[in-house]
């Protein structure tokens, strides 16, 4: 396994935010995650990359606590993933913007704020933070894709979580909006929030401190963008990823 900036931080004694040991998940009759072990340090942006169906969402759901786990352990902020005291400290953005279409943006965010026990001011702040303050009274059914994602993000941010788990937040968004979102992620990380962002667009990996490369339920590599380029000798991260896949399947074939 190539080393990552997370590993370096952990070696220096920083406590991991997420610690996963030998995680196995079976969904339907097929294994979704095979014996996965990884540790993620505080304040990093970790990109979870891999083709569709490789288990990214399943892994995120295990961390957030909505996935039945067959074996292994998931420890988040020192507690088992999904336990009650964690729910205020972990924000989750699911893959489809799961907000209520028949409500206005501000109503949606206020509702999630109340679920976390926060007041309306926190809701307003969250809406401002994602840049939707001009649209706060717009009905969610009338929003564009990017606005809907940002509204959903506001709902996840409202509780000021220590860990943000974002499932494909930039899918289907234009490049301008993507850059904007990543800037916000960077700002959050600088403020101390740990982010786990999944994507199947390899080029987004450059924005991350750390990369987790997955394929078919296996963790292929835990590395940084720079090291990945070094180790595979490719400049494009997409080529680098393909090269890693080829290397991991070659011994099995040979």
């Amino acid at each position: 396994m190539m080393s990552s900036s997370s590993d370096e931080l952990l070696r220096r004694g920083v406590e991991p935010v997420i610690s996963i040991q030998h995680l196995r998940v079976i969904r339907g009759k097929r294994p979704a995650l095979h014996d996965l072990s990884v540790a993620i340090a505080r304040g990093t942006i970790t990109g979870l990359l891999g083709p569709s169906g490789c288990g990214k969402t399943t892994l995120m759901r295990c961390i957030v606590g909505t996935q039945i786990v067959t074996a292994g352990s998931v420890t988040v902020l020192g507690r088992p993933g999904g336990s009650a005291p964690l729910r205020r400290r972990v924000g989750y953005l699911p893959q489809d913007p799961t907000i209520y279409n028949d409500l206005r943006i501000i109503d949606n965010v206020r509702y999630f704020a109340s679920l976390y026990g926060m007041d309306a001011r926190a809701a307003h702040a969250a809406v401002d933070a994602v840049g939707l303050q001009d649209h706060r009274t717009a009905l969610c059914a009338n929003l564009s894709g990017g606005q809907r994602t940002r509204a959903s993000l506001a709902c996840a941010l409202v509780c000021h979580p220590d860990l943000l788990v974002l499932d494909e937040p930039t899918v289907g968004l234009d490049p301008v909006l993507r850059v904007d979102l990543w800037e916000q992620f960077r700002a959050l990380a600088r403020a101390g929030t740990t982010l786990l962002v999944s994507s199947h667009v390899m080029d987004e990996a450059d924005h991350c401190d750390d990369l987790l490369l997955m394929r078919e339920g296996h963790l292929l590599a835990h590395t940084t963008p720079a090291k990945l380029r070094e180790d595979t000798g490719c400049t494009s991260l997409e080529d680098a990823f393909l090269s890693v896949i080829r290397r991991s399947t070659a011994p099995a074939a040979g």
Binding site: T66, P94, T98, D107, F112, L115
Partner: protein
């Protein structure tokens, strides 16, 4: 509350919830107007109105709750809500309360129209009719929440209505009195909460004071509603496959 806000945003639904019972009861009033009846006994309209006032809340609330809950499960908002600090019990209570408030509004309007405008009368106090209507609404919410767990799509949720509601209403005695039913049907109707709901209504219709039977029946309805809510809580799983 969020649920009521969603409902309020949907003006057509609000209109339907509030006005449809009134329209149906008024329709029945005119239907029965010329039907001859023996003097000294309640008019056929009176009988029909009593049944409708009590059972409409059960029926309508079941439909609304089952479909709304189904939508939450299917759209993923339920899973997202369960990742927050909200407890499952709180979620159920908030659903129950929101829909009960809607049912209360419906029952109030229906009762006002029936008692004042259409000349509906009961031996017992109208307040008890109202109370039973609300109890039935809560029962409808509980059953709706429970059945929504078994429907994978909205299409299936809708088909639960004829499956769960119609036999119950028929067996409760709205067309054929329970006493005249074959024994095996009578036994089945004994375990259906709707039978007790209807009996409570009939008791209020014929007795001036609240009879012991009526009190027992109301207790059964509320008990069934709570049981359904508890079972529904068991179906709200945080962790799914």
């Amino acid at each position: 509350m969020r649920i009521l806000r969603q409902l309020a945003g949907d003006r057509r639904s609000v209109a339907m919830i509030l006005l449809v019972p009134i329209l149906v009861i008024t329709l029945m009033y005119f239907m029965f107007q010329n039907v001859p009846h023996r003097p000294g006994t309640p008019t056929p309209f009176n009988n029909a109105c009593l049944i409708l006032l009590g059972l409409f809340p059960l029926f309508v609330m079941f439909i609304i709750t089952a479909i709304t809950m189904q939508r939450e499960r299917a759209s993923g908002t339920l899973e997202r809500i369960l990742t927050t600090s909200l407890r499952r019990l709180d979620l159920l209570v908030s659903y129950g309360t929101a829909f009960s408030i809607a049912a209360g509004a419906q029952a109030t309007l229906a009762c006002i129209v029936s008692f004042w405008l259409l000349g509906f009368s009961t031996a017992g106090s109208p307040v008890w009719v109202f109370v039973i209507a609300i109890a039935n609404a809560v029962l409808g919410v509980g059953l709706g929440l429970l059945c929504s767990a078994f429907a994978r799509t909205e299409f299936q949720a809708v088909q639960f209505i004829p499956l769960v509601m119609v036999p119950q209403l028929l067996l409760a005695g709205i067309i054929v009195p329970r006493a005249l039913m074959p024994t095996w049907l009578h036994w089945i109707s004994n375990v259906m909460p709707a039978s007790y709901a209807l009996e409570a209504l009939q008791q209020v219709g014929t007795h001036a004071d609240l009879s012991g039977t009526a009190v027992r029946d109301i207790a059964v309805v509320i008990g069934s509603a709570l049981l359904a809510l508890c079972l529904a809580a068991a179906t709200l799983r945080r962790r799914t496959a």
